[in-house]
Amino acid sequence: MTLLICRTCPRYDARASGEFGRRLTAAIAAIAAIAEIAEIAAGEPDAPVAIRNVQCLGGCPEDGVVAVDAPGKARIRFTGLTESYAEAILAAAAAHHASPSGLPADWAVPTELAGHLSSVTVKRLPGRLADPGKLTAP
């Protein structure tokens, strides 16, 4: 599973500090170290969660943006986060990974994140994908 973390947030900060991504990545690495999930801390590609520090996820007005993604599964974006959500973000990544489609209807979005869900990007493939309709967190 892939956890995408914005390295630009807050985009509209003239200092272009990218501090959200740095803080969240550090917080996740600390959790991973405590949990002895060394692959996450080391950023190994075959880790249970592959972290990608990406340039932007397009949710900029509510800075602090991450998304969970996986091949063939819906990409789910959360906005308005801080590093204090690290545990919930990891839980979301694991739940997304365990779900068949990645659609929020198929997994339990952690309560802390429910109000932060800002987009569901369906991987539209010819003739086989269900349409989630609109954005709804369970």
Binding site: Q55, C60, L135
Partner: protein, 434 residues
């Protein structure tokens, strides 16, 4: 700051050469701005080279974005592309150029400029070494007919064959490398439908004939079925979008696949449909104007193009608020997940075919002897996970024309196990000679 070097040896790398061969371990020697040898490097040839320890990391060609807009300024609306004053706009373009190469893109094909000379000035500044950026083929403002402009404030208007010839001549005069025709609508405008075609055959033919006569290629914003066929009939070299290509158009593309390129700009459709709500364009609105239908039809058509061997290249119209600069490699993920490309095919489309669309097929886009040294040293295997290329931290080294654009101050890649470290091809050669 770039560090000029005369010889660089990438030692013990996994060579992803963009020929279609599986990656293989070896060494790569760069001399001045070209790749001198690949696989096994003669130690004598490598004498005095600066050595980069690959430690098994992937060495591959720099990437190509076939649909680039330096001057799309991450605006949250179409009009924002036209309202920025030229001074600020030029600075933005130079920042875009730097962002492209920071993202591993060493080749970009300009798909239109928001003001007449922005692209041309950036290209020249990059080529002169004044600012960092990819190799760039510059465009001018897109040409549209009266009543058919997506964004009137950034459009060069022309009507009729004579009007087209004049517009092309003027753009050639300012130094563009290719001409852009905006032939169809775009649903986000609210008034100009993607399935409507505004150019006539006569206008398209005149524009293409004049451009080709001056040695320039033509690209086109062509979403409708009719526009795709009009492009092929009249030898438009690069077709952007091609969302509603019909059966006849598909056959025409296949019959002309030796020269035509398609660059769909797929991320624009995906992100506009699903991810633009934060900027005032919710999914319901995007569906209502037709983006859901267009994405579905486009994916079907593009998969068929891929099946028929038509060259479909990544390059995504990046530069709007919800498709910002720096996120370019997401296109490769779309190619794998939505269009059915294997990761190898997606990388070849972004590298080897990139060399072809840049008109340097024997010099760009592959890790082969004699090719220009535009290289990425990637921490990880993009064939195992294509999303690695979206993470700039994973692009440990970026080289363009034999010069490092990016290199770490300290290389923190994990060291191999000394007890189980295979000899490099070069070391084996030395051992054989001993």
């Amino acid at each position: 700051m770039p560090v000029p070097t005369s010889k660089v040896l990438f030692r013990n790398v996994s060579i992803l050469d963009s020929t279609g061969a599986d990656p293989y371990p070896g060494d790569v020697l760069v001399e001045n701005n070209r790749i001198a040898s690949v696989g096994t490097v003669d130690p004598d040839a490598a004498a005095g080279a600066r050595v980069i320890e690959g430690r098994g990391r992937t060495l591959m060609s720099g990437l190509c974005d076939a649909h680039t807009h330096f001057s799309w300024n991450n605006s949250a609306d179409l009009d924002g592309l036209g309202t920025m004053p030229v001074e600020e706009h030029l600075l933005f373009c130079l920042e875009s150029a730097r962002t492209y190469i920071d993202s591993g893109y060493t080749m970009c094909l300009g798909a239109a400029s928001a003001k007449e000379r922005l692209d041309v000035v950036c290209r020249d500044a990059i080529n002169a070494g004044r600012f960092p950026g990819p190799r760039y083929l510059a465009n001018g403002p897109e040409i549209a007919v009266t009543g058919g402009a997506l964004i009137p404030s950034i459009t060069k208007f022309a009507d009729g064959p004579e009007g087209m010839r004049k517009a092309v001549r003027e753009l050639v005069g300012i130094g563009v490398d290719q001409i852009k025709l905006s032939m169809t609508g775009e649903e986000i405008t609210g008034t100009l439908r993607a399935e409507d075609t505004y150019f006539s055959d006569e206008e398209t033919a005149a524009a293409v004939a004049e451009a080709h006569r001056r040695g320039k290629r033509v690209c086109a914003h062509a979403r409708s079925a009719e526009s795709v066929k009009m492009c092929v009939r009249n030898k438009v070299d690069i077709i952007y979008h091609a969302s509603f290509t019909d059966a006849e158009g598909m056959d025409m593309l296949e019959a002309n696949k030796d020269w035509v390129f398609v660059a769909p700009g797929l991320n624009w459709l995906v992100a506009t449909l699903y991810e633009a709500e934060s900027f005032g364009f919710p999914q319901e609105a995007a569906e209502a104007v037709g983006y859901k239908k267009e994405l579905e039809v486009a994916i079907e058509g593009l998969r068929e193009m891929h099946r028929r061997g038509i060259r479909v290249l990544p390059g995504g119209d990046y530069g709007f608020a919800w498709t910002p600069h720096g996120t370019y490699a997401r296109d490769l993920q779309h190619f794998v997940e939505l269009l059915g490309f294997t990761p190898m095919e997606a990388i070849i489309s972004a590298t080897a075919w990139g060399g072809e669309i840049m008109l340097q097929p024997d010099e760009l886009g592959k890790v082969q002897p004699g090719y220009l040294a535009d290289l990425l040293l990637v921490d990880g295997d993009p064939l195992a996970d294509i999303t690695i290329l979206q993470d700039h931290d994973r692009l440990n080294y970026i080289m363009k024309d034999g010069t490092f654009h990016k290199e770490p101050s300290t290389d923190t890649a994990p060291s191999p196990d000394p007890a189980n470290m295979p000899a490099t091809a070069t070391e084996r050669l030395v051992q054989q000679r001993a």
